[in-house]
């Protein structure tokens, strides 16, 4: 699934940087019914993790009250050049990953 990641390409050591992620997912709540009354089964992203050079810096547990195409923004301190890895997991074995690089001077 497509994900949009916004991480600054360059940062000074010690800067606080914002990381923004958007991934495409229906986030079906499991509380809706079709016109003939059948319950639409839940299908959501339940977890998100961000690792910075292997170390977990941010984790989220998501519930049906998160809007479709979950958007998350959070912060971290730029400490070294390297890679951010993002992982979304969800119902029905859903799993999706993305990554972004940063150069820290």
């Amino acid at each position: 699934m497509a994900a949009l990641i916004n991480v600054p390409a360059k940062a000074k050591r010690g800067d606080i940087i914002e990381i923004r992620t958007l991934t495409s997912h229906i986030m079906e709540t499991g509380f809706r019914h079709t016109a003939d009354g059948a319950l639409v089964p839940r299908n959501i992203i339940t977890g998100f993790t961000c690792r910075y050079n292997g170390a977990e810096i941010f984790r989220a547990d998501l519930f049906p009250a998160i809007a479709a195409n979950p958007y998350l923004s959070f912060f971290t301190i730029a400490k070294e050049s390297g890679k951010f890895e993002f992982e979304w997991i969800g119902d029905n074995g859903y799993s999706s990953t993305a990554s972004a690089s940063i150069t820290v001077e």
């Binding site: 606080i16 509380f31 019914h33 009354g37 009250a65 998160i66 971290t76």
Partner: protein, 155 residues
């Protein structure tokens, strides 16, 4: 029996829906303030929750409850010894009281998260922060929603 404005409107709304679409709709599930309290206690345990430190940035009037931008920030130096461990967002009247749990570290630098949420009704939203010294701080705000999310029918 007195009929409150809310009851009247929900009955009137039900009649309109039944009149235009010839099917039986189930009443939407709705969390109660008691469920909100239970959900909060599941996170907080027996600890005391104090008011302050947490800031909730969310529009007070929402036209479309399907996507409501929300930002929670906590006043914290975010050092190795004094930081925000986690931020939890709850609602009062969606079918489920939880919205999200966000786990931070001292490496976060700034205790702030943003996302977009669904709100099924005009209701209260609560944000609770757990600090590294295991104290809990909260803020709550009332949000008016004109188009509800979560329980509408699929077309």
């Amino acid at each position: 029996m007195q009929t409150t404005r809310r009851q009247f409107l929900s009955i009137a709304g039900g009649v309109t829906v039944a009149g235009t679409i010839p099917i039986v709709t189930l009443r939407p599930l709705e969390a109660t303030p008691a469920m909100l309290g239970t959900a909060i206690r599941n996170i907080v345990g027996e600890a005391q929750i104090r008011t302050g430190k947490v800031k909730l940035d969310i529009p007070p009037l929402v036209e479309n409850g399907n996507t409501v931008p929300i930002t929670v920030s906590v006043a914290s130096p975010m050092t190795a010894t004094d930081y925000v461990r986690s931020i939890h967002i709850f609602n009062e009247k969606n079918p489920q009281p939880n919205i999200g749990n966000f786990h931070l570290t001292p490496a976060s630098g700034r205790a702030q998260v943003s996302t977009r949420i669904r709100l099924a009704d005009t209701q209260k939203v609560v944000a609770i922060a757990r600090l590294s010294d295991d104290t809990f701080w909260q803020v709550s705000t009332e949000i008016v929603v004109t188009l509800a999310a979560c329980t509408e029918e699929m077309n």
